[in-house]
Amino acid sequence: QQQVKQSPQSLIVQKGGISIINCAYENTAFDYFPWYQQFPGKGPALLIAIRPDVSEKKEGRFTISFNKSAKQFSLHIMDSQPGDSATYFCAASGGNAGKSTFGDGTTLTVKP
């Protein structure tokens, strides 16, 4: 049973465009929703995270939108740059789950 579903699997965006990656979760005990960014040959690194008491969090060009009733959250990358090309993972944790559950990842390619 996959508790966090992520889409799309891959995404190609032109430089300056908006990249949008979506995730849906099932476990209502989750209370922390991070996004990780992974470059080739590196480990995932925390990019931005949100808790369910807010509907949006923005850090620079990166924004998380959160819809608690729909159990969905998404990452928006504004003014996408070639340097944003990476694999992005959503995740969820909280309650007594004792572990983070990851989405399957989205490979983002930003074309110059």
């Binding site: 209370d31 991070p34 480990g43 690194a45 993972f89 995740a91 909280g94 572990k99």
Partner: protein, 114 residues
């Protein structure tokens, strides 16, 4: 001054061999993990240790044995390596084992079994 460091970076070995991967974190965290990333980039948790105590053991073959000598170190020993073990193995750490988890990952060990 890497926060989570793991060695080796690359590991190439023959089927049937036994190998170990080491991990150390200098963040003062009390929880450490091993994750496996397959060729499709799926990230799956394997083990989690909190203060040297095993708290998560997913459905991993018992050929994989983690060991935590102290809360700053978590090693992974793999016996009788198989072709299907080829993957990238990531060590990670977090402060706390319950609730919200901000994970810090190492740079990975790429294991190739020939």
């Amino acid at each position: 001054d890497t926060a989570v460091s793991q060695t080796p970076k690359y590991l190439v070995t023959q089927m049937g061999n036994d190998k170990s991967i080491k991990c150390e974190q200098n963040l003062g965290h009390d929880t450490m993990y091993w994750y496996k990333q397959d060729s499709k980039k799926f990230l799956k948790i394997m083990f989690s240790y909190n203060n040297k105590e095993l708290i998560i053991n997913e459905t991993v073959p018992n050929r994989f044995s983690p060991k935590s000598p102290d809360k700053a170190h978590l090693n992974l020993h793999i016996n009788s390596l198989e072709l299907g073990d080829s993957a990238v193995y990531f060590c990670a750490s977090s402060q706390g084992s319950q609730g919200s988890q901000k994970l810090f990952f190492g740079s990975g060990t790429q294991l190739s079994v020939l």
